[in-house]
């Protein structure tokens, strides 16, 4: 198969990317405007309504106090994960096919983390006091509680965001320099400032490669640790269905699964809307990511089995009650079956190379996986709380329109941000593609 972008030249790559970024048709603005409008109406206004009226506008109620917002929180952290894996882990292992897609995947990580952070605030009862969760010196001498998993969430996501941002930026510096040469107007000065005086000397390339390697190694453990910490929010409690030792690997696997599915969706949309992208995002990438998804789906299925079986083996009345509620009670039994269909049965078709190489099939498959992974979090988070220990308090949870609208709105926010970002920052790594293209003439060093 075509493993490398073909028929490209150094100049061609530059021109392609610049055209992609600067030549924006009215259609694009129309679509962007539509998504921004949707974000305002589906996300911002309901949230303002919720802040003014109180958390009571949600369907939450004691004991089900972690609802769709937390589901979305975990889901978007998951979406963030694949970007890091692609850009960092594959950077270290020097996997060649990562180059063309790493930048867009990493951008997705960053934007998803912004959505995540906002879900934390949306979920809070008093979001205007959010800064109390940061350990900052204050005259009241109140510190944050370092035994709380929620505290570590703040750290984990903060670290993740900062290091992803720095890693992404370091990778972009050479691109900024080359862009500043071939653009005009505000872009020129902007890119020039962002390129930090990059000249492309041997020493600079050397340092850049070193820094990228350092940050890639720094971020790599975060792929595992961030979602483990998110899973401890649940695993540290004693609620049946939450208190699972398997949660850390289970969440990480699920995160990567949904993350890769999200990457495929984004790449496919890019390919469909910008034919130019077809030169860079190749079917070969689909093939590779398809293999990843297959492996992750199988691991995920195994861990799902373990989650249920360990609960069943515990054989306490509350665990059994929880499993019965989650798997065998009417609406959730269907959801559970659908989740298994989406995440275990459907990905099996990826064994066939034909499916992996068909972008349409991959696209629809990934939509199912995304839905399945969202359902997985839904089945874990509110449903475990519905069946806690005292039967008198058993309580079912249904999200209200505010929650659902913010859920959909978050997606709109994500899309709008993505649409803006890809027009400002090079979404394909120019210098790394050039490495693929091959050096036109021999140079010393690099």
């Amino acid at each position: 198969m075509d493993r490398k972008p073909e028929g490209l030249s150094y100049r061609g790559v530059n021109e392609d990317i610049i055209n992609f970024m600067t030549k924006t048709g009215p259609k694009y603005y129309l679509v962007l405007g539509f998504f921004i409008l949707c974000s305002v109406f589906l996300y911002l206004l309901p949230w303002i309504h919720q802040i003014y009226t109180g958390q009571g506008v949600t369907g939450l109620n004691v004991p089900v106090v972690w609802g769709v917002y937390l589901v979305n929180f975990v889901f978007w952290v998951g979406v963030a994960h694949a970007g890091t894996l692609i850009s960092a882990m594959l950077y270290i292992t020097e996997t060649p096919w990562r180059r063309a897609i790493a930048r867009s995947a990493e951008t997705m990580t960053l934007l998803a983390l912004i959505v995540v952070a906002f879900f934390v605030f949306i979920h809070m009862g008093r979001p205007w006091n959010f800064y109390w969760t940061f350990p900052y010196p204050n005259q009241r001498k109140i510190w944050t509680s370092f035994q709380s998993p929620i505290m570590y969430d703040v750290f984990a996501i903060g670290t993740y965001f900062t290091s992803s941002l720095v890693f992404l930026y370091f990778g972009m510096i050479p691109d900024f320099a080359s862009l500043s040469q071939s653009t005009t107007g505000w872009r020129k000065s902007f890119y020039k400032a962002m390129s930090l005086g990059w000249r492309g000397t041997d020493r600079q390339w050397h340092l850049q490669a070193k820094a990228s390697m350092f940050f890639a190694s720094f971020i790599m453990p975060l792929v595992v640790s961030v979602h483990s910490i998110v899973s401890w929010d649940f695993a540290l409690s004693i609620v049946p269905g939450y208190a699972q030792t398997v949660f850390a690997p289970y969440f990480v696997t699920g995160a990567l699964l949904s993350g890769f599915a999200a990457v495929i969706l984004a790449l496919t949309v890019l390919r469909w809307t910008f034919p130019m992208m077809k030169k860079y995002i190749l079917i070969h990438h689909y093939d590779r990511i398809g293999l990843f998804i297959l492996v992750l789906a199988l691991t995920w299925s195994y861990l799902t089995g373990m989650e249920i079986i360990t609960g069943y083996f515990a054989n306490t009345s509350d665990e059994i009650q929880h499993i019965t509620y989650k798997i065998l009670t009417y609406p959730y039994s269907w959801l559970f079956a659908f989740m298994i269909f989406c995440n275990t049965i459907l990905p099996l078709v990826l064994i066939s190379g034909k499916v992996r190489r068909s972008e349409k099939l991959m696209f629809f498959l990934c939509i199912f996986i995304i839905i399945g992974m969202w359902l997985e979090r839904y089945l874990i988070i509110p449903n475990s709380e519905s069946r806690k220990f005292l039967p008198y308090m058993w309580h079912s949870y249904t999200p209200t329109w505010v929650e659902m609208s913010i859920t959909v709105g978050a997606l709109m926010v994500f899309i709008s941000l993505f649409m803006i970002i890809i027009k400002i920052f090079p979404v394909i790594s120019i210098f790394e593609i050039k490495e693929d293209v091959g050096v036109p003439m021999k140079k010393e060093g690099h």
Binding site: T53, G54, Q55, G56, L60, N61, V62, P63, V65, W66, H123, M124, G125, R126, P127, N129, F130, W132, T133, I142, W143, T144, S145, Q147, S148, P149, I150, M151, V154, D233, L236, S237, I238, V239, Y242, E385, K388, F389, L390, P391, Y392, M393, H395
Partner: protein, 257 residues
């Protein structure tokens, strides 16, 4: 070397006590005799009056968003007409190893020197973690801004905070009464006697099902009642170390006394 190790060990052990206290000043305990409770809900009403609990209106009450810190759980046994109802009043159990405390990121809930699990409303940011971790589901959340109608706002207890929207709250064992009793005892230069502190629910209970006191004091009524063979802790197997003792006679053959 071993001296240092021992010191480190002691230090680490002290961290295992919630709030890092070596020993609490008191160990407030409530004993509830379920054989005496008739489910009259007087304790619930007393709690509403004493602790400025808000009434939430018909709609919210209908979906069980009422703010009662103490609730009477009713369990029915058998079919009509041969039906038996069992009551169990449940409030915050002030667990020694409170699961809610490890969850809170901002120390809004912590153990004070009396061994009580307290909630600092002003510090609460509303992450709901404590309510999730609580095995007894006794935490209540201010879903909206609740207000009392005009003359009724004169009924607020001045000793208790009125909570604002977005904070978590829960039973306190009437901490304001404990405080008052401590102050009085301090003025009179004596430790608190048994019977100095009576939470509102205990005071209101017409059948005398509830008793409150300090378990450290071997002569207190709760210490005596705690030796009762009928004693049990609610969800003791969860190992949270609750401080509410229930008394209930259970017959060997499973029949109800």
């Amino acid at each position: 070397m071993s001296g240092i190790m021992q010191k480190i060990q002691e230090r680490l052990q002290s961290y295992r006590v919630p709030g890092y206290y070596k020993k609490y000043d008191y160990r407030w305990t409530m004993v509830i005799d379920l054989d005496k409770c008739n489910g009259c809900q007087a304790c619930v009403v007393a709690c509403y009056a004493e602790n400025n609990l808000q009434t939430v209106g018909k709609d919210n009450c209908g979906i069980a968003r009422n703010m009662s810190w103490i609730r009477i759980e009713k369990y029915y046994e058998g079919e009509y007409p041969d039906i038996k109802v069992k009551f169990i009043p449940i409030m915050c159990q002030h667990c020694d190893k409170a699961p809610c405390e490890i969850g809170c990121p901002v120390f809004a809930t912590y153990h004070n020197q009396d061994g009580l699990n307290t909630q600092v409303y002003n510090r609460c940011v509303g992450t709901f973690t404590c309510a999730t971790y609580c095995p007894y589901d006794v935490r209540r959340f201010n879903w909206f801004t609740y207000k009392r109608d005009k003359p009724l706002d004169q009924q607020y207890n001045p000793d208790v905070t009125v909570r604002e929207m977005g904070v978590m709250e829960k039973g306190t064992f009437c901490i304001q009464r404990i405080r008052a009793a401590k102050d009085k005892a301090k003025d009179e230069k004596r430790p608190i006697k048994d019977g100095d502190v009576t939470p509102a629910c205990v005071q209101a209970c017409p059948t005398g099902a509830m008793t409150f006191g300090d378990l450290y004091d071997p002569n207190s009524r709760v210490a005596k009642l705690a030796k009762d063979p009928r004693r049990f802790y609610l969800l003791e197997e969860k190992n949270c170390g609750p401080n509410v003792i229930y008394l209930k006679r259970v017959m060997k053959d499973g029949s109800k006394a």
